[in-house]
């Protein structure tokens, strides 16, 4: 346990001192929401603003992309050597990747909460059911972070992980209507859209905020939690000490 805490602390420090990651986690989502929200302002009105839509969806999108941060915290060039030292140190090797999951989760979660708070204050985004939203966002965040680490464990190479992951996430995001809503394009497209788990998350989030109704939260959260458990198991099976030797 102590090992886990120590490694996680070092990882967190490493993430927060890297300007590229801090920019990616905090400024990039803000920029996305501001620019896209501004450009689509004209398409909304009457009690809804474009920020109401994009503020929520794009924060979910950023949460989904935080797997890249995790992959980097795990296998970045300059992290590889410290990793090698850790596997030679006494203690459970599993704490290595668990610590990376924890540190990147805390890092991105905090960054996105701050972002969302800023956005909702500045643009007056309607927020209700904060507790449920936080659970949903947290699980999404943990899902994507675990996905990043799992892919690292399976593929054993950070760069490919990043690329493949960003293609997968973007594909799911487009299908899930995060970058623009697909719901208005007819029944068939709506069905295709439902293939993407991202769609469930978005639907659940909007349902919580606008309908004060959380019956979609449970399936979405259950799905995410299930995936997280499965992926952690996969990590435990595929992670080998030898991969850290460089």
């Amino acid at each position: 346990m102590r090992n886990l805490w120590l490694i996680a602390k070092a990882d967190f420090k490493n993430l927060i001192t890297n300007p590229m990651w801090v920019f990616y986690a905090t400024a990039f989502p803000l920029l996305l929401v501001m620019i896209i929200g501004y450009l689509t302002k004209g398409a909304y009105g009457n009690g809804f603003s474009s920020y109401d839509y994009y503020g929520v969806t794009l924060i979910i999108y950023s949460a989904l992309s935080s797997g890249m941060t995790a992959a980097n915290a795990f296998m970045e060039e300059r992290i590889k050597k410290p990793n090698m030292r850790i596997i030679y140190a006494p203690g459970n090797v599993k704490s290595l990747f668990l610590a990376k999951i924890g540190a990147s989760f805390v890092f991105s979660f905090l960054a996105h909460i701050v972002d969302f708070a800023i956005l909702s204050l500045v643009f007056g985004i309607e927020v209700k059911g904060v507790g449920q939203l936080l659970v949903l966002l947290g699980l999404t965040e943990l899902f994507s972070v675990t996905l990043g680490i799992t892919m690292c464990c399976v593929i054993k190479q950070e760069s490919m992980t990043n690329q493949l992951q960003s293609i997968i996430i973007n594909l799911l995001a487009v299908l899930g209507g995060v970058l623009f809503s697909l719901d208005g394009f007819g029944g068939t497209v709506r069905k295709i859209s439902m293939i993407s788990p991202v769609k469930w998350i978005v639907n659940a989030a909007f349902q919580i905020i606008y309908d004060r109704d959380s019956h979609l939260l449970l399936p979405a959260a259950g799905f995410l939690a299930g995936c997280i458990i499965i992926m952690t198991a996969v990590c435990c099976f595929t992670f080998r000490k030898e991969d850290c030797i460089c």
């Binding site: 302002k41 909304y44 690329q163 394009f185 909007f206």
Partner: protein
Amino acid sequence: MLTVLKNNWARIMQQKQYLVTAVLLTSLAAAAAILLTNRLQTTPDVAVLGGRAEYLEEECSVTYPEKAPARSELLMNRYDAVVKLADDGSFDIETAKGDAYRERIQAAVQAGQGALQAGNAGRAGVLNDKGITAGQETRQVGTNIIGYMMMFLLMQGILYGRMFAEDKEKHLIERIAVSPMSFGRYLAGQAVFIWALVFVPSFIMVCIAKLAGEDTGFTLAQFAFLLALCSMLSTCMALFIHSFFMTADTGNMAGSCVAVLTSVLSGTFYDLGGGSSWADRALYLMPQKNLMRFADLWERGKLNQDAVTSLIYVIIISAVFISIGMLKTRKDYVRHGKRLCKAE
């Protein structure tokens, strides 16, 4: 140049499973683009409560749900508008889409009701000039396919530009610089490599879709040209972005961000228009926006001056990207490398 190609191929073959995954995923993206765009219906969805409104059915897909749709469904565009009809002929409209849209729906409902009262059997010929969908030029299938593929094509360029980035990161490029091969040839080799890997899988997917009888809008030759153009832009952008970052990972990361942001802004998926005019005009600086305009005009068969300007702009900007990439890399590594060698 061939050497670079061969060498890159050998390197990527060492990581075969990733190549396969990457090609599979990108083909999947292309397939999703084609499947999705063929099923897009852009007719407005209107939910009518408390009565029938046949007069709207001509232009909209009208549903008659039993209870009012949730607000979240309005925001997510599931319904463009909800019309609540009251018994006394008055009605109430709820929409997320702004006042102009509301007025159009209002006019349509009023006209329809008027026609009904005049015994016109619900025919809404009245809507013709001021219809709900009037003034919206929707993009056609081929342009939509290109648009949906664009972001993934750009991201692939960055992905396959990895060989170039790795050369820089691992300082191979300095060795190459002092080898007899000219730097231009080296970069050309990288460019051809990226271009081919971006172009070939996506084009194959389009061919398959065509064979499977999907509607692709353009002919295969036209598609070949457009995809070649997209791949060219993607290649040049990848080399441009990678030239600014010392490490491959940071370059990848920044590249993906740029690809996503600029593609969404350029309205490759969904036209973002409706913002202020200067912002709209500024967006025409984006090469993707110009590519979309070219494809759109071409598909409509209107190859006018606008289209040609856009096409030329895309080509020029690609040339600028690759030149800057080349100069920057040469400045950072090649000269530096030569100096190092001399000093030794």
